[in-house]
Symmetry: C2
Subunit: 196 residues, 2 copies
DNA sequence: CGCCGAGTTGAACTGAATCAAGAAACGTGG
DNA sequence: CCACGTTTCTTGATTCAGTTCAACTCGGCG
């Protein structure tokens, strides 16, 4: 078996997952490579997969009616990204999922996930925890948007995703934080002055 | 069996749930009444239950470091409210859950839910759908906070929760939308002028 | 070398917050 | 049923964080 990151991801989180199950999983998955800038999905398409990032960096974003981008999330290697709305409810997606760097992605069919969940209680629980965790993180972000200034949100981002910060253009960070790129530039300048 | 709203809620969403299971569930649940203004949980407590609203109206909110309230969500009768973070991760809660009106609430222990999920696949799937739905709704709200003005968010609220709008004080709606009460008042005035 | 996209800076503008004061609505007890 | 205090909502004046638009800098790269 190839040494995928996904293998580590699963074996370290799901107790009692055997090589058989893993092989089954990998058999049904395809490995795809994307160049930086390429899209995995675009609005109005149906998202049919979960994307596990083996290498590189993805981001999910929307474009609103005023033409502005809003980054929903980033996913570096070792992370699972998907458009749950589209996959679970079989709706056309509202989002772009784009490779920011040259990336290698495991395309996982949701059916395979479901099958795994059926035969393995531990996987089922793990999957549940993923959902709960996602909810927690989204609620945290809402709280931040409701209560924190641009500067506070940026400081939080630095602390939470220091690695991502270094790998994505500043403009994209701004669209994640919900502020204009120029504003982020100024926030950074301000912080630099303070600390010196 | 008493004619609880929860009964309808479950039988209409979970196929093949039998009276036995339901009785089991209700045996383990207690029914509590709260006066308007009373708290079901407060920060630093561990939230031990899911709250199913039989009658009345609850809201969940946080207070930030600047002393401002931020409403996470409202729950009128027929809705399930809980602090997932606290229940699932066994952490002290960061939130208040408060009865806005005189309310009757079924206190459901998460263990009972788990037990039901174990023996009934359909319930398991239903529970999963609840989570997915929650995620979808949170993401929608983030998108709104990132892209819409105060007025747009208010209009969205009216459309999505017309019933709730009439039952909660305006101030609380403002804390849900993430704007100052005075601003909401002005937004409303503006809209009234427009339409006349 | 010259172009190009990303980031910075400045100046004017704006949506919403804040502070302060008044008006309306609400419930409670006499 | 009215009078009272309390809370909720409105209105005005001012301030402020963040946006917008436009011009400029910088580093990379064909």
């Amino acid at each position: 078996m190839k040494n995928f990151r996904l293998t580590t991801f699963l074996t370290s989180n799901v107790t009692g997952i055997d090589n058989e199950s893993l092989n089954l999983l990998f058999d049904k998955c395809s490995l795809k490579k994307y160049k930086g800038g390429e899209y995995l999905i675009q609005p109005d398409e149906n998202c049919q997969h979960s994307f596990f990032v083996e290498k590189g960096l993805l981001r999910q974003y929307a474009i609103d009616k005023k033409g502005k981008e809003h980054t929903i999330q980033f996913a570096p290697e070792g992370w699972l990204m998907t458009d749950r709305e589209s996959v679970f409810f079989s709706e056309p997606s509202k989002y772009y999922i784009q490779a920011i760097e040259d990336s290698t992605v495991l395309m996982i069919e949701p059916k395979v996930f479901e099958a795994l969940a059926k035969e393995n209680k531990s996987f089922q629980r793990f999957n549940n925890r993923l959902l709960q965790n996602h909810i927690r993180q989204l609620q945290y972000r809402i709280n931040l948007l409701l209560s924190a200034t641009a500067e506070e949100r940026y400081l939080d981002f630095i602390k939470t995703y220091p690695d991502i910060l270094l790998r994505v253009p500043q403009t994209m960070v701004a669209t994640y934080l919900g502020i204009a790129p120029e504003s982020l530039s100024r926030v950074r300048k301000n912080l630099a002055n303070k600390s010196s």
